[in-house]
């Protein structure tokens, strides 16, 4: 075990971090396209990469999004590698062809990949060039989703950050919610905040480019996801101010998140109480039911979605679980600090990964539940461990009060299933 022998720190924020480098079993940032392209309905994501990138997008979620998806891969071929000038011409041609076939596209993201970065294909210049060619109908932006620069959910961060510089300016005092969430959850958040009298509320990313929010010195923003560090920094550069809070998972997280925003907007306690009392009570009931199988159980987080620290906070504080190790691909205390503050020191906090070493720790600890990626889940199950796929946490509505019970349910289902199945002889 790598747990420090004596811990002077009181909370996880001050606990020493186990930093590891080695084989990482995580997706690259391209994966974010799978949910981003559903959220932004007039955007197309064009990965400039290899067959591997196309294969990843097709396989990552184990789905085929068959209505012609609003993403694709411009696959680099031998000739593109020979001369970059040609590669740029080829890219212009493919983009022209795509846009003429899809006149509904208003925003095009050129998404950099490992190969495009290694050959130093300048997609920022390409985006500028293509914006000029296709203006005013289409705006072309670029960001990197490459594995050498980004991990999994960082792709969304890179995408949103690329949009910030071109958002219109505004002097209005507005609340901006940042992060791509399922509509149902986003509507709940906006509903709760509106009932407190907070508004106008804008969302990044907007479902359509025409509805893009403005940003300026009077903008205050709150992140909906704990992996949006670059986007937050970009917004701050535009003069906006971030509201820091634990992330809105579970009853407690949601309440603290809403509270921080309410305080910023001067909402009085009575109003806050009136708006949140009923959904809070609902959330508590739902969590109590769903967490019955979680109480007293141990959990081990492999690094994956960057949601690990806030989710560990939820599971330990609201569902009665004990965290053994909480791994994240990288730790940005400016974002997850408030969540770390709420957890007493104890669990190993690890950053980065050396997957074989980490699996040794999993096997030694034999946690009741291991949260991990799809590549590791069945192998661990075959060793008799119970697992929860991390990717489901990114795709499923899990934020805010009315999903708190579902969130607990996602973790308890594998444990319940294990109890349910009777696959041996009755004797």
């Amino acid at each position: 075990m790598n747990r420090p022998a004596s811990i002077p720190a009181a909370t996880c924020r001050d606990a020493p971090i186990l930093k590891e480098r080695g084989q990482r079993e995580v997706f690259c940032g391209l994966t974010g396209i799978i949910w981003l392209h559903r959220k932004m309905q007039d955007a197309f994501f064009l990965v400039v990469g290899s067959r591997t990138c196309a294969h990843l997008l097709q396989s990552a979620a184990g789905v085929m999004i068959f209505a012609e998806p609003r993403f694709g891969t411009a696959i680099l071929e031998e000739t593109d590698l020979a001369g970059l000038a040609d590669a740029n011409d080829e890219l212009d041609r493919e983009v022209g062809r795509l846009l003429s076939r899809r006149p509904d596209i208003k925003q095009l993201f050129l998404v950099g990949s490992c190969p495009s970065e290694v050959i130093k294909l300048d997609l920022a210049r390409a985006a500028e060039r293509l914006t000029q060619i296709h203006a005013p109908h289409v705006r072309v932006l670029n960001y990197s989703g490459s594995g050498i620069e980004t991990t999994f959910t960082q792709g969304e961060d890179a995408c949103l950050a690329s949009m910030v510089p071109v958002l219109p300016g505004t002097e209005a005092r507005e609340l901006l919610l940042v992060g791509a969430l399922p509509d149902v959850v986003e509507d709940q958040a906006v509903g709760l905040l509106s009932k407190m009298g907070i508004g106008p509320i804008r969302v990044l990313p907007a479902p359509r480019s025409a509805q893009a929010p403005g940003v300026g010195p009077n903008t205050v923003f709150a992140c909906l996801q704990p992996f949006l560090g670059d986007t937050a920094a970009a917004l701050e550069r535009r003069g906006a101010r971030m509201i820091q809070a634990p992330f809105p998972f579970g009853e407690e997280g949601t309440t603290l998140w809403l509270r921080a925003i309410a305080d910023t907007f001067g909402v009085d306690d009575a109003t806050f109480e009136a708006v949140t009392a009923a959904p809070r009570a609902r959330a508590r009931t739902a969590i109590a039911n769903a967490s019955e199988h979680l109480r007293g159980k141990s959990v081990f987080f492999m690094p994956d979605s960057q949601l690990e620290i806030p989710l560990a906070r939820f599971l330990t504080r609201e569902c009665g679980m004990e965290a053994i190790e909480i791994g994240q691909p990288f730790i940005h205390k400016g974002l997850v600090g408030p969540d770390l503050d709420l957890m007493p020191a104890g669990p190993t906090i690890s950053e980065g990964q050396d997957v074989d070493h980490q699996l040794d720790r999993v096997r030694a600890a034999r946690p009741d539940l291991t949260v991990c990626g799809l590549g590791l889940a069945n192998p661990l199950e075959a060793e008799g461990l119970t697992t929860k796929w991390a990717i489901e946490l990114v795709f499923t509505p899990v934020h805010f009060y009315d999903q708190a019970g579902d969130l607990a349910g996602l973790f308890s289902r594998p444990l319940r299933r294990r109890d349910l199945l009777k696959l041996e002889a009755a004797e």
């Binding site: 559903r38 396989s59 789905v63 490459s146 594995g147 799809l374 192998p379």
Partner: protein, 526 residues
């Protein structure tokens, strides 16, 4: 540069992984950036393997690029050897690592590891997954298989089955059964479940059964040349092909073509009167060359279908598929662009598709039933039950699988007879398919409900109007004709509409009446 939405094949290093994962005691050290590890889930999720693929990725990052990626590779190699103690290592680069030119083979050679290290050169920007499987297996055989004494009894190697293959697991059992009936023993099955040590014994066999040419033909030719082992050219998928395979084996081995057909039911199932409705069903066949070749013969000779289009996505086999198409009076479709396949299917307007998971989706969009006959695979292609494609049982399985998506003969008549019945109407579809039952309203539901797994959350995605358009923009259907068209059963309605429009267009008719509809019907009547 080529814009790709869906691909039939992954990159060649995924092919190498399919060989490595199928084997035991082999480890693959892959120089690759973070993210390429996604490929593990193909094996653990789609194939439900209870172990990680035996692959170590160097997972280099941006900051490593200016530094020592070669050192990183060597460390990963040493760690992999120390931890997994494989009998042999294969080393190579993914697409990104190919660009940084670290030469994994050369680096590994300098390390003097005490086991064979086989370097793979898989050009990611030119070739694809099936090249990767074939080349990897060939390199392994070339490095490990040397002349050895033949087994005293007649034995065969089964070569080609590997991880993520379409029913490879069960095909092995079926072929073993066929050989057992003939008194032929099994020397080595490879790559499936073989160790590098097993590969050194390949030369002891008298014949190679080349089960899947796309994965093992180069190795088969190499063994023919260097070890003097002949290999089979017939793939035993279908009743006729299985008979031919047994005859070919008997000829090669100089023995009697003994067969036990007691479990073969297909011929009677196909001859029985209830199968009459299969006659002349128009089918479109697309997939990998091996399965397409087999399916075309079964469709025509063993089911009584009419093959109206065929093709394959693996260009390496363009020549035999073109020849096959010619023999069927068709032009082969050789492409890995699914939009082209979709267009060809739409134009051919078949009554059924025999294809891959991609064509299953195309069929879903066009309202054409589809049976899956080939990789690329989906989790559904790994059934718990025994479900081979090869041999006698394979012929039975194929019969069942292909007729399942169809509406059966009498039901077909009843559906059109009572098409106005509130329950038993044509939009309800075949009675044995849950999928056609009226959908519950999805309004107001969260985009992902609890019951949905990530795998199918997008499956119910609505069609994109931009491409759902059938193209009848200048033609006008008069109200009467439109009503009449609706009386035609749904599974032939699309064809009737297209035929009528084609008929009208050829005659310069722009308004389609009931008469036009029936004139077209008479014109196209077979």
């Amino acid at each position: 540069m080529k814009l790709t939405v869906w691909t039939y094949e992954g990159p060649p290093h995924v092919g190498a992984m399919r060989v490595a994962t199928a084997m035991k005691g082999l480890h693959y050290v892959l120089h690759a950036p973070q993210g390429d590890t996604y490929a593990d889930l193909l094996f653990t999720m789609i194939e439900r393997r209870g172990h990680r693929p035996p692959v170590s990725y160097t997972t280099f990052e941006g900051r490593d690029l200016g530094e020592d990626t070669a050192g990183l590779f060597k460390r990963a190699c040493q760690d992999a050897y120390d931890r997994f103690q494989p009998q042999a290592l294969i080393v190579g680069a993914s697409c990104t690592a190919e660009l940084i030119q670290d030469d994994p083979g050369g680096l590994a050679e300098t390390m003097a590891l005490p086991v064979p290290v086989i370097a793979l050169e898989l050009p990611s920007y030119q070739r694809k997954e099936n090249f990767g499987t074939d080349e990897t297996f060939y390199q392994l055989v070339k490095a490990l298989a040397h002349p050895v004494e033949k087994t005293p009894e007649i034995t065969a190697n089964l070569i080609g089955p590997l991880a993520l293959g379409f029913r490879h697991r069960d095909d092995i059992e079926e072929v073993k059964g066929l050989l057992y009936e003939m008194g032929i023993g099994i020397n080595v099955v490879a790559p499936f479940d073989a160790t590098p040590e097993d590969l050194t014994r390949l030369g002891a066999a008298h014949v190679n059964v080349l089960m899947y040419p796309e994965h093992a033909e180069t190795a088969a030719r190499h063994m023919e040349r260097t070890l003097g082992i002949p290999f089979t050219k017939t793939v035993p998928i279908g009743v006729g092909a299985t008979h031919d395979f047994v005859a070919e084996m008997a000829r090669i081995c100089g023995i009697e073509p003994k067969k036990d057909m007691s479990r073969l039911r297909q011929p009677w199932w196909s001859k029985s009167v209830d199968s009459t409705y299969l006659t002349g069903k128009r089918v479109f066949i697309f997939g990998d060359a091996t399965h397409v070749q087999a399916a075309a013969r079964i469709a025509r000779d063993e089911m009584g279908f009419e093959v109206v289009g065929l093709g394959c996505y693996n260009r390496e086999f363009a020549r035999p598929i073109r020849a096959l198409a010619k023999a069927f009076g068709l032009e082969a479709l050789i492409t890995d662009d699914y939009l082209e396949v979709e267009k060809a299917i739409e134009d051919a307007a078949p009554e059924m598709i025999l294809g891959t998971q991609m064509e299953r989706h195309i069929g879903k969009r066009l309202g054409i039933p589809c049976a899956v006959i080939s990789a690329p695979v989906h989790v559904q292609d790994f059934p718990a039950r025994y479900s081979p494609q090869m041999g006698w049982e394979g012929a039975n399985v194929i019969f069942d699988t292909w007729i399942h998506p169809l509406v059966m003969g009498l039901e077909e008549h009843l559906l059109s007879m009572f098409r106005e019945d509130f329950e038993f109407h044509d939009a309800a579809g075949a009675s044995h398919h849950g999928g056609h039952a009226p959908r519950a309203s999805q309004g107001g539901q969260p985009p992902v409900s609890e019951a949905d797994s990530p795998r199918d959350i997008y499956e119910t995605e609505k069609q994109d109007p931009a491409i759902a358009d059938t193209g009848s923009d200048v033609m006008v259907w008069l109200a009467d004709a439109e009503r009449e068209l609706k009386k035609i059963p749904f599974f032939v309605r699309g064809k009737a509409r297209r035929n009528t429009e084609k008929f009208a267009a050829e005659r310069g008719v722009t308004q389609i009446s009931v008469d036009t509809l029936y004139e077209a019907k008479a014109h196209y009547a077979r």
